[in-house]
């Protein structure tokens, strides 16, 4: 019997980095096949190729025994393949029913039969056991209900192959139970299901077969019969991962960050931590675990409540970014293209963004002082560019990240540096340099708070780390205990 979907030697590179390397994969009809891997292991790239969003560099995709060159997501859908994405892709102002049948409305001569839309939507929702009003506008629903609508939309197309990317991330336990029941039903109808999730317990329960990607290659692929968590975690992270490299002993200065009872909406609940001069403190959590919200609250760009807070002599959290910066804080955002850089502006413009007013006299710029500071920053941060007048968009990810780091610390008065995913999408060489720069800052008495979902990163640079799990601090560990596998097992 031929597989519902099969790949042979599937490979995809981005700018010299091979994100997916020769993956052979087989998804059978009537099977739930879980795909696991750390952030950056190549899962999204792999699924992107299977759903027609990305085109492979080499290798082939076989759907239902036929070699397929997927040209677009629509092409993939035509072949009976549906994807439920992690990010919701719904039309907010339309009703639940309209969303579920979007593009497939029962119609006669372009006249949409609204009653049929409603009946069919209800049928699909009933299959999911969901109690959602089909006439409600999607934007008025909770995120969990929206997730259910998204799944309902995929199922309404009667796909032969279904991709679920983190489908339970937003769901509450009873909804997860219902989803599991739906998956079992779909399975018995012969649908092939590719299931991507971080939640190991869930995967071990639902999957018939488990495949693990690590650094773009398959490191593990076996039927789920008596597999243990440990086996899978090891396959995801690699057994030989060093438990933190040797680092010089740090001299701790005064404690300059003390937070108690930090609560942020429903995402973060009663979190407390401290940080002193001279140390790099990690906050590790899986994507969506709440650690990024903590970083934003600390910098004053996300409203939050605290029982007590002391940051650099301020007896509360800063109210906005300007106040935080004035106090000596700096923030390196996770999404450097959207929040870190003005890509269209030059490298020099970006580097000087924060420091420009301090180099000017009564608001009038000094070309010589600016050029000098740019040269200093370019050299200190080893930014490789043909000219500082080139647009920031012309640089590689690593060099862009160095610009963000340089720009935010260009004032030279940074005492608390908050970093979110500082080496995401950055090559190995630049990673090492970024780590070196953090060390340089702490040696001068700054505190670095590193918020990351990359266990290797936290293990490599942090002097100690908190594990954030579902909006709470689950545990706190000294450097000796830090390793990616250990952190991940704590955060799952």
């Amino acid at each position: 019997m031929s597989a519902a979907l099969e790949t042979r030697g599937l490979t995809k590179s981005f700018g010299g980095v091979r994100a997916v390397r020769g993956v052979d994969f087989r998804l059978e009809s009537g099977q739930v096949h879980a795909l696991l891997g750390e952030n950056g292991a190549g899962k999204s790239t792999f699924v992107g190729m299977l759903s027609g969003i990305l085109s492979p560099d080499s290798g082939e995709i076989v759907i239902g025994g036929e070699a397929a060159t997927l040209t677009s997501p629509v092409d993939a859908q035509r072949r009976g393949l549906r994807t439920v994405h992690q990010e919701l892709e719904l039309a907010g102002p339309l009703t639940v029913a309209e969303n579920i049948l979007l593009g497939r409305q029962p119609a006669r001569f372009a006249h949409v039969d609204q009653r049929a839309v409603r009946t069919r939507a209800i049928a699909v929702l009933d299959r999911l056991g969901a109690n959602i009003d089909p006439a409600a506008r999607v934007e008025t629903l909770s995120v969990a209900d929206q997730q259910v609508v998204e799944i309902a939309r995929a199922i309404a197309a009667e796909p032969r192959i279904l991709f679920l990317d983190e489908p339970t991330a937003a769901l509450a336990p009873p909804e997860i139970e219902r989803l599991m029941a739906v998956l079992a039903a779909l399975k018995s109808q012969g649908v092939a299901i590719l299931y991507i999730s971080h939640r190991l317990d869930e995967v071990l329960r639902v999957a018939d077969h488990i495949t693990v990607l690590r650094d773009g290659s398959v490191t593990f692929s076996e039927p789920n019969a008596g597999l243990s968590r440990e086996t899978i975690v090891t396959a995801m992270l690699g057994a030989e991962l060093a438990a933190g490299t040797a680092r010089e002993p740090v001299t701790l200065g005064e404690t300059i960050v003390e937070i108690e009872g930090l609560t942020i909406g429903t995402q973060v609940d009663d979190v407390g931590f401290t940080a002193s001069r001279g140390e790099v403190v990690g906050f590790f959590g899986l994507a969506g675990g709440g650690q990024m919200e903590i970083a934003q609250a600390l910098f004053g760009i996300r409203p939050a409540q605290t029982r007590s807070a002391r940051v650099l002599g301020l007896e509360r959290l800063p109210n906005h970014a300007r106040e935080a910066i004035a106090r000596g804080m700096a923030y390196v955002p996770a999404d450097r293209k959207r929040e870190g850089l003005a890509l269209g502006l030059s490298i020099a413009d970006n580097l000087l963004m924060t420091v420009l007013p301090r180099l000017a006299t009564w608001g009038i710029r000094s070309a010589s002082r600016e050029a000098k500071r740019v040269d200093e920053l370019v050299e200190r941060f080893r930014i490789k560019a043909s000219s500082s007048k080139a647009p920031a968009s012309s640089l590689s990810g690593g060099n862009q990240q160095k610009i963000v780091l340089g720009s935010r610390t260009a004032t030279g008065t940074t005492d608390v540096l908050i970093l979110c995913e500082p080496t995401r999408g950055v090559d190995v060489g630049a990673k090492a340099e970024i780590y070196r720069l953090l060390r340089g800052l702490t040696a001068q008495g700054a505190t670095c708070l590193l918020f990351s979902s990359d266990g290797d990163e936290v293990a490599a640079v942090c002097d100690r780390a908190y594990v954030v799990r579902r909006g709470r601090i689950a545990s706190s560990h000294p450097a000796e205990e830090l390793s990616a596998s250990f952190l991940t097992s704590r955060a799952l």
Binding site: I301, A321, I325, A326, R338, L345, K384, P391
Partner: protein, 334 residues
Amino acid sequence: MTSTRTTPPAEPDVATATESTRRRRIPLGQDLGLFLVLIALVVGFSIASPYFLTASNLTNVLQSVAIIGVMAALMTLVLVAGALDLSVGSIAAVAGIVSATLVISGWHPLLAFAVALATGAGAGAVNGFAVVGLRINPIIVTIGTLALFRGIAFVLSDGRDISVLDPMSEGLAFERWLYLPVTVWLMLAVFALVWWFARFTTGGRAVYAVGANPRAARLAGLPVERTRFLVMVASGTTAALAGVLLNAQSGSAVPAAATGYELQVLTAVLIGGTSLVGGAGRVSMTLVGVLIIGVINNGMTLLSVPSYYQTIAGGALLVLAVALDQARRGTGYR
């Protein structure tokens, strides 16, 4: 160590290298193209009409674009900041009425002009408050105030024209310094000031950063809201200056004055290559855009093209300018 900046990248930069070659713009070639368009127009009209290439007619061209020029200089910054101001024509009308009313009621003209400019600044502050304080899209805000300020102009003047006879206004319109009318010098001064501001002050760079990526600018500690607000205020102020100049040139304040000027201003700015999405644009090129519009209008008038057709040409030019801008950037309305 000292040569780190020019070291060729050792790491594989394949994707980013191709990306930069694809997206690299050639500013010089683009500027040259714009100048060539201007020269071609001048040559073309010189051949078509014996009256075009004369000192007095070229002065006419400059004088006729002075008013939209004054507005266009600031509109460049408004667009660079990622906003838009469609209410400039209406603000000019209100300011003109205010100035003329005060002059005929006996105020010193200079004082009247100052109050008119303050009125423009106030109108700009209304726009700025709606954009920054109420977080409404600037296009919507200024479509609203386009009507609102126009209505105020009619209310203040009771719908009537007001004659302006003061010597100050006459001087503005007819006096010359160094061969050029005062109005033209004023326009050039506004351009020079905006150019200097954009290039040599921290405020100017903040405008570019805010337009290029407001989220990054905010996280870098730039005053995003204040920048946007002040740009709208400045736009209102120069629109008011344009209104005072218009009074002087036409000899009267008319509540319907400067109707539709916002489109000409926008066209000039977009021809000059300023991006509609913010973050990019140069005031010097806006001046070339203004001249192109002036030459086209003047040439068509000399060739006795009926004004209806001039309106059609103006509209076509606006669409063409945006099409060129997007083709250059490889972006579009999707």
